[in-house]
Symmetry: none
């Protein structure tokens, strides 16, 4: 079951701002209406606070396990996107965070959902 | 027969703004002049109001059935585009909504129609 | 013989602004100097006035026949482009209209001609 | 021998502004230093004055013959570009004109030369 | 072991500003959590101070050896990116420096990390 | 040995501003550290002063020989880029000049160096 | 309702063998299990008998109407493919005929079905 | 749990030979060693016996559910491939059947497994 | 009106075998059923007899005029292909000749027709 | 004027068979019917006899001048191809030689001509 506590973090390696992007193209959850599996890609982008301010980065293996915890959840695309944003914001308290999900389609319809937290930092503008 | 009541919605999963895009590349209706089938792709993009404000998202299976209800309708490209915009605005009352249809062509002419409701949100500018 | 009366229109399906693009990649006319056929693609983009204001859209089958009426006309590229703009503006009185012709080339020279009527609407800026 | 009088023009087909682009990918002249042939593409873009103001467009067959008149001329890339600009400005007195030449290369060096007359019109900005 | 002293520099060849980009697509280090190797590409961009002001450029062979010194280090992606930025800023004191790392993925997740020092110079804006 | 005197020039063919780009994809010099050959592409862009003001353009055959004079020089990438800029500015005194070098890579690292003289002219903005 | 009599034919234009390929990328029928529409492309290839032997070719407008007659039929992919083969063989008695259907997918599965009648003629071997 | 009885079949639509290919790009199972999910594409190709001989085709919705039954199975790539072949041969007794699985990779290694039953029919040789 | 006499020929320039291919991507004729224009590309390949044996090649300008003579003919795709083959065989009596037509499509169906005369010569096998 | 004596040769550097290909993408001659220039690419491939047998290779600068000698010749595509084959066979007496010309098109028709001398050697089969 997806849960913020699955997300382990390590201290940000410095005090200056920087930007991180993680892309997982093997995301799967279950449609809450039909019970059929959904497949997609999930992208998380964020800028941690500086180390002095207690800034942290999510550890990759824990992120993988966190994403895998959605495998048998019945959950809408929109809720996956908002839930991941909220859990990661809670775990890292970053300067900025963005979640984009691309879904392979069901019933002939493919979807993209995007949720943001904070303003896109100057270093990343025009990206993603 | 296309009808707003075919569109089922579920509460938006949060209060913060986010953006949704659904693309159906298997849209078909019937030309009101010649009676021949038309084929195209239809894209709907919107940003729901927050959950606190009664914001909702369209449910995908109902969206699929709604799109299928155009299958034997005699209707112009322009009317498909405006009708979908109006039905979805009525069903969701979103902050922003945009419908774009791409038609494969008839008589050697291919067409694109685009209709908007509200202003493109900052998160999506420069997209689509 | 090309003529505004070949263009049939139907009432715009709503009052809100929207944008239409029709592309015909099978346009042909005749060079007035050499008598040889010219081949090209013609793109028409426009935004109709609202239904309340008597706004109309061009009907596709009539547009096809209108384009075919150039088949044996001896006419310059530049005149095709301006004539189509003028005829369609006369037939629809749109908020905005744009005609772009791409010609496959004659004597080793290929050409693009573009003529506008009114200002590009905000919904289409950065397109086309 | 290249000469403005080779360029025949016909009256602009209307009074509203529009934009024309002609591309010849089969341009050849001779290097004045080595005597070897040079090969390239030449693009001319212009916006004629309106018909009422005596605006004219260059006729394509005469443009082809004009370009062919460089075939055995010993002339620098830079002079080709400036000469074509000057001859065409003299022949058409357009609102705006631009000449761009792309040369296939000699001695391992390929070149692009660009010369303008007047300001790029709003309809063409961000193009070419 | 990565260390600023591995980075040898030579005096900047002039006083006017210019911009340098080095890309190494064969970077490898070790995951501090699993002990498995990580593979990626690392890009360094910088603008040195002028020669009069003691500006220097990193020497390429020493940069190669510096990058190779990460081969058996157990280190997070984020720390690689920040460490390289900090070491190179220390070695060169440039006007501007940027490090971007692209990682091939581990556990189905691929990542991009970007860290900056100073403002992007006018000559490079809109690049990279 | 590279030297400004290798660069022969001819008078600019007119008084209006225009822009020239020469690209040599067969540039080679020698690494001053390892003695191994370096291979790359060198691009020079400039806008000459008008003929009345004594403006000149570099002659292509002399440019080829000038580039070939680097063949056995032990010289850093950065110094090639700055040297070419300085020699060409000295030879032509242009309104604007830009040199960009792309190096195929050594030790797994490929590099791009860019040096400017003067402001990019309006005709070329957004290019290159 | 699909039926051989929808297929009109005209006499083969000669006695020598030749090969015809018709591709319709806008085929749609209905899934007999779920009632949802299926979308795909259907390709028909054949070699008619010579005119002297009563050879015929299918007329294109009738072929279009024949394909459209499947629009609201509940029928398996495999049956579409075999039915079209059988109807067309009955209508034309060709030397050779081949039907290939490509289906866009349902439930994440996309399919290709191929049915033949007679031997591939020498002129078409290695094709399709 | 995967099981032949999940596969429903319908009678082959004819007596002549034909070939069917189904591709599912959303296959997932679980690694029996690490417990992590595996992702891949599975392709099944077969030629059913004729209807007179009791030939059958697998029904697509049942095939989807059959593939989904592997979702939480701990099973090797090789066993998935052989199991699907054996189950489908048992369910359909086809003239020919082939299963190919493409796996996205784990630990930097991606894999393809292929298992056959019977001889490739002449119509499909040189394919797949 | 298409006619063999439109095709002018000149003596083959030698006695050894060689192969010629002419491609016209601007072919147009008229559908005999609907009266609408058809657009396509026509390719002619042939190997002339040797000069000693009276071998001839078709002259290009006459071929252009011959193709243009179909412009207002009501004729099936299949008849265009066979007619061109027969006319050109009559005009040139070549060792080998092949005509392939690709049609842009009408009613959503695009077509390819191919007709041969004689055996493909060894020099061209595996081509086209 | 094209002439075998323009082609200078040097002794083949060895006795074992090998294959040479020269491609000139800047070939131009003149149409004997219209007087307009033709543009194309010419490819020559050959295998020289061994040095012991007096085998020779064509010298590149002389080949360039030979090709340039066609610049103002009025000559058919087919004759260019056969003439180059014959001249080069006469100059080199190679084991095998092949000439292929690709012409950019005139009157909307583009052409490829191919002429051979001797059998394609085993090293080159399936090429070109």
């Amino acid at each position: 079951m997806p849960d913020t506590t699955l997300l382990e973090c390590f201290p940000s390696p410095g005090d200056e701002a920087f930007v991180v992007e993680h892309v997982n193209e093997e995301f799967t959850s279950v449609c809450p209406v039909t019970g059929h599996p959904d497949f997609g890609a999930i992208t998380v982008r964020f800028s941690p606070r500086g180390a002095k301010d207690g800034g942290v980065c999510v550890e990759l293996k824990s992120l993988k396990l966190y994403f895998q915890s959605f495998r048998n959840e019945g959950i809408y695309y929109e809720a996956v996107t908002n839930t991941v944003r909220d859990h990661m914001v809670e775990a890292m308290r970053p300067r900025w965070l963005q979640v984009v999900t691309h879904w392979r389609g069901r019933g002939g319809i493919r979807s993209v959902i995007r949720a943001d937290h904070g303003d896109v930092p100057a270093e990343w503008r025009g990206k993603g």
